[in-house]
Symmetry: C2
């Protein structure tokens, strides 16, 4: 009979999960569909659901069910982990009161609206952001203080834990120091090495400048990789993202000057989408059924974007899509896989993170990490962000942004209240390299398959080894299970050397 307490807990959690899903649709809609004048009313709806789910998760009745479930001995490993995750969710929520949640959500919404407006109008002044960002950061620091006490960790570590459970800045420091120890030198070497390669520039009107043609190509790529539009969508937003709900996964991209930027965003987000779509059906609407933290999530997007889709084999296949659906005229001069591969693997220090190459990408992340850590710990002022940003850009990449749109205003994260997320991109790149090395070993025909545009085996490998595991393991456990060893930076390093110095 005792097992019923646990089942009752699952039922209660399902309700909370489904409120989150409704919120997720409101959020997607806000970024893709919402008329501009309705922004503040959308916040009212969002806050209402936010408070409802918060009240449900910190409910004493839920806690009693957790306590009773903990006494049940015959729970299986999935149930045990589920219980553990729900308890963690409860524990963290129980110390945060409704008013703080509401204030933070409203401040986030207010700031992200301003950010969107500036982006749409191409305005780059940082000054108008200062008071709003100070306010939001203040609220996030209050929350971080409360949680850091509960978790006995630093403020920034409390933030990290939101996105990647148990991640500490000590660990990040070690990894980032390792990266810093070889990346700047490697970058120089690659830039030198590249000089020998002759890249023939592409014509500007490579594809018809019609959004529907570009979108169709993107969709053809998604379908080729294995995306099923019965369970998802592709749309347009100011900043590409992956949202949606269980078996309804919605990715976005944007169409700016260079079509390939839009395509790479699509391939990246498709990797996220595959993870969300591949979670275990048996654990639908439960904590243990969700994808793991954001480091593994980013590994899934970068696995496709960087490991698979920037490979020479993939570009051989891609040419056929460019030709058939984009009307590209293949020729021996510039429009061929060899030249495209050179373009897709061209390394060049640049301003925009999401368009950066693999070698410089971690430097973009380290810069952001250093700034956001100081902001959260209270060691740096909001008004100094542009100055410090530009200082690091100069130091790491040797370039200086002309304005804040290609500097500290480029990413949505801080203006959405997301602090502590950035490191997961680079951890994700490391995981991705290690996963891909393993997949290549276990699927000997992989290179051939990619060149033929066949991704079924590869997607199945990811499904079986990663997606279907949900949150059963920690990231550390998962990588050991899948690759037989701990996270090892050498895989990423080897990948860079192999791809960029060969």
């Amino acid at each position: 009979m005792k097992i019923n307490f646990y089942k009752e807990l699952e039922k209660k959690y399902e309700e909370i999960y489904l409120i989150h899903e409704a919120k997720s649709i409101l959020r997607w809609d806000e970024h893709v569909m919402l008329p501009l004048g309705a922004h503040s009313y959308r916040t009212d709806q969002y806050v209402t659901l936010q408070l409802l789910s918060h009240q449900k998760i910190r409910d004493k009745k839920l806690y009693n069910l957790i306590k009773k479930s903990e006494r049940i001995k015959k729970l299986n490993i999935w149930e045990k982990k589920n219980l553990h995750l729900i308890k963690k969710h409860y524990t963290e929520s129980s110390v945060l009161d409704d008013k703080l949640i509401e204030k933070t959500t409203r401040a986030q919404s207010d700031l992200s609206k301003l950010w969107l407006e500036f982006r749409e109008k191409k305005k780059s002044s940082f000054k108008p952001f200062i008071p709003k960002l100070e306010k939001l950061l203040g609220l996030i620091r209050i929350e971080a203080k409360i949680l850091s006490k509960k978790k006995k960790c630093s403020l920034y570590d409390a933030q990290l834990d939101h996105y990647e459970m148990g991640l500490k800045s000590d660990k990040i420091d070690v990894i980032f120091d390792q990266l810093i120890s070889f990346l700047p030198d490697l970058l120089k070497e690659v830039l030198n090495f590249q000089k020998k390669k002759k890249i023939i520039p592409l014509k500007k009107d490579l594809f018809p400048d019609l959004p529907e043609i570009l979108e169709r190509m993107n969709k053809k790529f998604m379908c080729a990789l294995g995306f099923n539009f019965l369970y998802g969508r592709l749309d347009v937003s100011v900043h590409p993202f992956c949202g949606g709900t269980y078996r309804d996964v919605r990715i976005t991209t944007r169409y700016e000057k260079n079509y390939f930027d839009s395509l790479m965003a699509v391939l990246h987000e498709t990797g996220h989408a595959f993870y969300n779509l591949g979670t275990p059906e048996k654990w639908k609407y439960q904590a243990v059924g969700e994808p793991l933290g954001m480091a593994v999530h980013e590994s899934q997007s970068l696995f496709w974007e960087m490991q698979v889709c920037r490979s020479y084999e993939f570009l051989k296949f891609a040419m056929s899509i460019f030709e058939k659906w984009g009307g590209l005229e293949i020729n021996k001069k510039e429009n061929n896989a060899e030249n495209f591969y050179k373009i897709f693997t061209k390394v060049k220090p640049s301003f925009i993170r999401v368009n950066a190459d693999e070698v410089t990408y971690p430097l973009h992340v380290i810069l952001r990490y250093k700034i956001e850590k100081e902001l959260i710990e209270g060691n740096m002022k909001v008004k100094d962000i542009p100055k410090v940003w530009n200082m690091y850009m100069k130091k790491y990449l040797g370039i200086t942004p002309k304005n804040n749109l290609e500097g500290c205003l480029q990413d949505t994260h801080w203006f959405d209240g997301t602090f502590g997320y950035f490191p997961t991109y680079t951890l994700g790149a490391l995981y991705a390299a290690q996963f891909f090395a393993k997949a290549k070993k276990q699927i000997p025909s992989l290179s051939n398959e990619i060149a033929k545009g066949k991704f079924t085996k590869l997607l199945k490998w990811l499904r079986d080894n990663i997606h279907q595991k949900g949150s059963l393991y920690t990231s550390d456990e998962l990588i050991k299970k899948v690759t037989g060893e701990e996270l090892n930076i050498e895989y990423f390093k080897n990948h860079l050397v192999e791809r960029y110095l060969n």
Copy 2:
């Protein structure tokens, strides 16, 4: 101090209102955006919010606040009416339990999914609908029985009250009998009269067959009437509708064979949108701030679609939009306002209600009214719907549908669980004629303004007289306030005679 109880009640109601708004976005998304495979998961989200709002509205604490507020003497008329409406909402919800709500919502969702599939695949068999519709109707009848006891009325009247407060079938019978007493004869007369008019048929490729051109034209019309896209959207769905939330009003249309059908749907839904967008800001998120029942709501859509936009003056203006945005070549032969007016006012018995002319439209409604009343009262079986439908079509309009797609499967209403809504269309037409007659008197320049594409004064008249009143008055009170007399069928009759026999 007592007034605080009422303010607390408003605050509680606001929360319920905002949960409804979130549901409304989920519903809009379901019809416009949702990937087909995600339908059942969407139902899970929807049911969760449905139950949450249901629990909130039947909460004892809410009831206590209602009771305490009723003892406050200094409430103003808006507050009093708001209290009255919230109490009604509470009273009705308190007798319906969660399980019934959940079962009904799931049965609705299940059936509407089937209906959408059939529409998309152009399948017309009624048989697969029978068990699902029987199930849903059974649940709706259980609800109607419970409510009819509470309200001391018939089952069907309990249904009517959902859409038009206090409306009784006795009243509808009187009105519909009046209509039946002259409409069939008038129809014959009009058909005869029309023979004298020479309509020159339009070419088939009047406009480029590109959705973006047709959509652009529709949007130009919406803007011309006064729709502000800062607060709304136009999209595509299987069945046109008006949805969305406070100051975020979203209408849809569909693009089939005839562009003008899509345009008329847009003009109709724009009328609904104006009403939703024009409600009093002071009563945002409160019951009294909402549009009145559906009869007045339909009056607002038909006011624009039928009274304004099928007039000769409007078509004079419309030609300029067709020319400028649709590339129509104006000529003396067929492409001119005179010939278009004949086309837009052509009366012809036809199968599809939403495309029907003004003279035959009420007959479509009466047919549906007769069937749904019997269904709800338990006097008719679901399996007999097609037979009875076709019998009435023959009787009233003299035509027989080739299949159920142009027969009983054409409307979404019953398959969405909406029974008791149809009569409001025809009541709406009567209200619209009476309102328009008054507006014409109070704005002497109206005909000229319409011909010039100027609608500011007219929209302001609607705003001031109708939209801004929210739900302060009953429909009966409102029409008296605005036009000085009770609902009078003569205005509609005169309108038909004037437009179709002149």
